[in-house]
Symmetry: C2
Subunit: 695 residues, 2 copies
């Protein structure tokens, strides 16, 4: 109940809390005996007056400030709040922002934008990649309140002689607080006051410049702080805007049946970069266990040459801090990282907390594993399914702290090699407190590190991963297909509180997800899903093979036939039917249009066909406006009207404008919002329009 004992708007202090019933002194006679620390509501440095200001309904917040908001460097953090107190006094308020590791608050003025709702807003630009905190301070603007009262009385021709004397007192107090030039100006005003008649005095005191000067010197003791400091994780921009390319390093070579090396991967970087990707994500690069190793297509008995699943981490050659010898050395890996940077990209590593039965931890730290009554370690199961090549660590063993620390140091090890992005495998099967702790610890040291959560699970858990710190989240995107599904899901992701903490990374496919739509829809289906992923979200990815329209499934399943997970592959990266040019164009369009760098500016607009999804993104200043029409059917052409939002585009309903179709380069001179599009899956399943206002 401590919370409800505190008056609103007061910052809790360590000294003193609100009184228990009866604690308040019965008479005022013993007041002199009481120190400031015994006041009714603690906080000896605050004047009671100020504490009757209420600051509430402060937005945005995630679970009342329990978890950080997410923003990116350069963002304006807009905060709104209801701020009010009893009576008619005029208030002032500041939005305060600071880095969590610095003491000084930066203040941005807030403005009363809706008096009827007592609603204030303010914006602060976030310039640093660091965890920040924000709060609000408000105070009674005594002089503005005085001016307001006197103006009303003068308007009603009432006498204000006494009010002028009271005004002089307010200015005299401000003069005592003022420093520098203002100090002299206020002293001069007070001197001049003495020589004037009532009319002159009123004119002197109601002067706009004087109000400005006085407002600069409020009594800071009367300021009220909002009782929370709300955390905001400010990440680098790539957390929000990036195109990912996922690869199995061992399958980037040219020799069948043999592992490729990091050098083979480096050799592919120019091509990947040319397609417009920013992040190259590698599935686990560690030694792979031999015990119960899985063979092609997840078969139980691997032949002698089967490479095994890279997710069965650990062998006598090492564990999570080692590199599979076939791929190269740590030195080679460092070269890989450097090469990615040289190409303007970066490397993301998979982080999968699971062990092959051969992992060195089992010998070195048996205390980290759960042994069964027969002395074996329990392997991974989801009954009746069994994963015999994998055993799990026990996050709750007696020695859990050393395990958690080892996992943290594993992140640190790869960070020291230059890695700044981790894609985390199945985080929702590990304890939530672990993630909150380890991500907080890592980001306190390395704020530029990003974590992508592969939590394909129920919504509360998926969202929880984002709340406790993951920078990005895999989503249900691959399972959304109809117009209604896209509108519902993307509205939820971009227009609700979820957008405050969850960045959806839209993967078109993954080694585990070969969506039926791609299996059956061929090249147009790949083009459609690419454009959807790349323009609905600001961060998206493909898993290699997508550019080749490779989608051969295990019949009846959502899985790839002859998956790279259990085999070496050699790909012909230029094989006929590929959509590399299309991907290149789409990524270039993304790069060139700032509106597509944002997530929460997505809006859906009318199309008159259920088969056509129409949406757009605009920059706040409307200097960049992009609209996308997608035919959701991979075989049937669609002819329909779509409606551009002339109002939001800040045009009149009948205005003319130019729409550049960016995939084809066509230039369209259009008048009015309702326009005809024809989307033929074989030609142009999608169109992306940049609208230029004709001024």
């Amino acid at each position: 109940m401590a919370k409800t004992d505190l008056p609103t708007g007061k910052k809790p202090k360590s000294k003193g809390t609100a009184p228990a019933p009866g604690e308040m002194p019965r008479t005022h006679k013993d007041e002199a005996a009481r120190g400031a620390g015994k006041r009714l509501f603690s906080a000896p440095d605050l004047d009671l007056n100020s504490r009757s200001i209420v600051i509430r309904g402060v937005r945005p917040q995630v679970e009342h400030g329990r978890f950080p908001l997410k923003r990116e460097v350069g963002d304006g953090l807009e905060v709104s709040a209801a701020i009010f107190r009893e009576g008619h006094d005029i208030l002032s308020a500041n939005l305060l922002v600071r880095r969590h590791d610095e003491d000084t608050w930066r203040a941005a003025p807030m403005a009363l934008v809706n008096p009827g709702l007592d609603l204030w807003t303010g914006t602060a630009v976030l310039t640093d990649n660091a965890l920040h905190l924000y709060t609000i301070e408000a105070w009674t603007d005594v002089y503005a309140s005085w001016c307001d009262e006197v103006e009303k009385k003068l308007g009603a021709e009432q006498d204000v002689t006494l009010e002028l004397l009271e005004g002089r007192q307010i200015i005299a107090e401000a003069a005592e607080r003022a420093r520098g030039e203002d100090s002299g100006r206020l002293a001069a005003v007070l001197k001049r006051f003495e020589s004037l008649d009532a009319t002159g005095r009123a004119r002197l005191f109601l002067d706009a410049d004087l109000r400005e000067v006085v407002s600069r010197w409020p009594d800071r003791n009367t300021m009220v702080r909002y009782d929370h400091e709300v955390p905001v994780m400010v990440d680098r921009v790539r957390a929000r805007f990036a195109a990912w390319y996922e690869m199995f390093p061992r399958s980037q070579g040219t020799v069948p049946g043999k592992s490729a090396t990091f050098d083979d991967c480096i050799a592919r970087f120019p091509e990947v970069r040319a397609m417009g990707f920013d992040v190259v994500y590698f599935v686990p690069i560690h030694p792979i266990g031999k015990t119960h190793r899985k063979g092609p297509n997840n078969s139980l008995n691997a032949g002698p040459d089967a490479p095994g699943s890279p997710y069965a981490i650990g062998s006598e050659e090492g564990g999570h801090k080692a590199i599979h010898p076939d791929l190269g050395t740590l030195e080679d890996f460092r070269r890989l990282v450097k090469a990615s940077h040289d190409h303007g990209m970066e490397v993301a590593l998979d982080f999968a907390i699971q062990c092959s039965p051969d992992h060195p931890w089992i010998k070195d730290h048996p205390e980290w594993f759960l042994f069964r009554p027969d002395g074996t370690i329990k392997y991974a199961e989801n009954p009746p399914k069994k994963y015999q090549d994998i055993v799990n660590v026990d996050f709750f063993s007696a020695d859990w702290e050393s395990l958690w620390h080892e996992l943290k140091s594993t992140f640190e090890f790869w960070i020291e090699q230059g890695v700044r992005i981790f894609r985390v495998d199945n985080p929702h099967t590990k304890p939530i407190p672990f993630w909150e702790w380890v991500i907080r610890e890592i980001k306190a040291q390395y704020p530029d590190v990003l974590f992508l959560a592969e939590a394909f699970t129920r919504p509360e858990r998926l969202q929880m991963m984002a709340k406790v710190g993951f920078s990005q989240s895999y989503t249900y995107f691959t399972w959304r297909h109809t117009k209604g599904e896209f509108i519902d899901y993307l509205t939820e992701l971009t227009q609700t509180d979820i957008a405050e903490y969850l960045r959806p990374n839209f993967f078109t496919n993954t080694p585990d997800i070969n969506p039926p739509f791609l299996q059956t829809g061929g090249r147009p289906a790949h083009m459609i899903r690419l454009v959807l992923a790349a323009t609905l979200s600001s961060v998206y990815g493909i898993y290699n093979g997508f550019e080749l329209c490779e989608a051969t499934p295990i019949p009846g399943k959502e899985e790839y036939l002859d998956s790279e997970k259990y085999d070496y592959k050699v790909w012909d990266w230029d094989r006929p039917g590929n959509i590399k040019d299309y991907i290149t164009r789409v990524n270039r369009i993304r790069a060139e249009n700032p509106a597509l760098h944002e997530l929460d500016n997505l809006r859906f607009y009318p199309s008159e066909s259920d088969q056509v999804l129409f949406y757009g993104k605009m920059t706040p200043d409307r200097s960049n406006m992009v609209f996308v029409a997608v035919n959701l059917h991979p075989f049937q052409a669609a002819d329909t009207f779509v409606t551009f939002p002339m109002d939001e585009m800040e045009m009149g309903g009948g205005d003319t404008f130019v729409a550049e179709e960016l995939l084809s380069g066509r230039r369209l001179d259009w008048q009015g919002g309702r326009q005809w599009v024809r989307l033929d899956p074989n030609e142009n399943p999608c169109e992306i329009f940049r609208v230029v206002r004709e001024d």
Copy 2:
């Protein structure tokens, strides 16, 4: 940032907090040296295992538990939450409720009602008039999880020999915790286990009765508490369900130009009770100041016989603890209170923190007032308006504590005379922390005391008064007229979070509000507004004269001509055109229909005329279902269809039912939801149907 340092679902403890970065030991070697208090996340009495359970999205709450919810004795408190942890283990959860002044939690089991959303609910019945707290505890049901796994494996014909040994361990641990009969039962099961083969063992352990026994003895150390204790003010039922009658005591007599007495008021009680009222609310009963006394119709110069406004409190005869000598003595007042109880009613007193310039406080406690440069006290103003007969205390004077205490003791003084309801005048012009403090203090001592806030102000402030403790609130009801306005406003009041803390008391009129609709609409208008107030809200009131359809205004104003505020009145309580019989019937219908005792069960249903508002209230078990059709126009008859919600009434679309029209006593045999009503303002502006199912 302390908040985000804590793992979710963990109850903060005074000992130890989460570590600062780097605080965690670097290796596990020094673990032996660390005591439980130094664990990664404090709380030495909790096993880490349990702490990976997340309890969030806990509803209902007001501002994350900052302010109490409001409920009434006998209510079921239904609480919902998302509860989950990593992996596939099965959880259990309890809703815990306790009085704030008792240590023992009562537990009510929660159930997983929506697995896809990890959503749990539980209900606890609130039996005491007291401030309560609720929270949630959850734990991993180790044995249920074990049974689930084993059943899946047996279904897939997998070997479970090891699992059975693990099961034995779980039961053995439960047996150690078990007491009484269960202890012996579990010991017997463990003994029997040894003599059985695998099939028998599985059958033994998967037995439903055994699961029940084991589930009674969870490891309490592994329980997780939700990290808040959410306050719930449980008031007596009259806080929600009552009919109020407001009167000026001095105008309840029979001699013109002379003050009536408390005995005259007592003489009126039988009539007021006969109309069905529960609360008789008296405007201030204290001595009235003489300085700047206001005359009839708020004129500046009162004649020698003008009684003055009862809101100009205080004269040489006393202040807020004194009684106006014309009304009677304190002894008479106690008789008045007793008489109200004898009639099944109670007295509500006005509490107006304002003083006439003659109030004894000014002499005895000049330190409580703000003096101007000329030595006068500032009188009340709302520039350019002036209230010369009233001066305000200064809540922020140096001696504020003694003032606040005097105000609290004023409440206590009247509570000692038997008063349990206070109607507070203009609370929004006094400091919010004062109200939170004084109401909390009073209710801790006298939980049956109720406070009605007269905060006719902007929504945030009006709502804030309810949040900080006021039991009921005046509303914007008198300014709502159209069908759309009623639906919007009542939906907000009954179906949003506002219903959790704000009880709307719908007054048809007040001494300060003579609505134009009543001024011009005559008798039908009074009947319409009565039925709306009495059936839309569960608590409502009228100000005397309403039953006589008295609505003569000061021309062009919302005020009463010759207001009682500045004069004595003698009323003919039986004058022609009165609606006392109608009020009596409406209040009897309220009393006899439990559905009308509730607020949040209000739902609107279709009527095919904009002039007709149609709505209903039902008890959860549908044993009482009441529907109200109101013609909102006081002159034009309305003929239209209304649609009864057959689904919600748990009937088929074409079923027959009986509708009793409770005002006229007509019995209607109807089939299907869509029915014709005719509402003639001169005959039946409103109809109230009780629906009886034909079984």
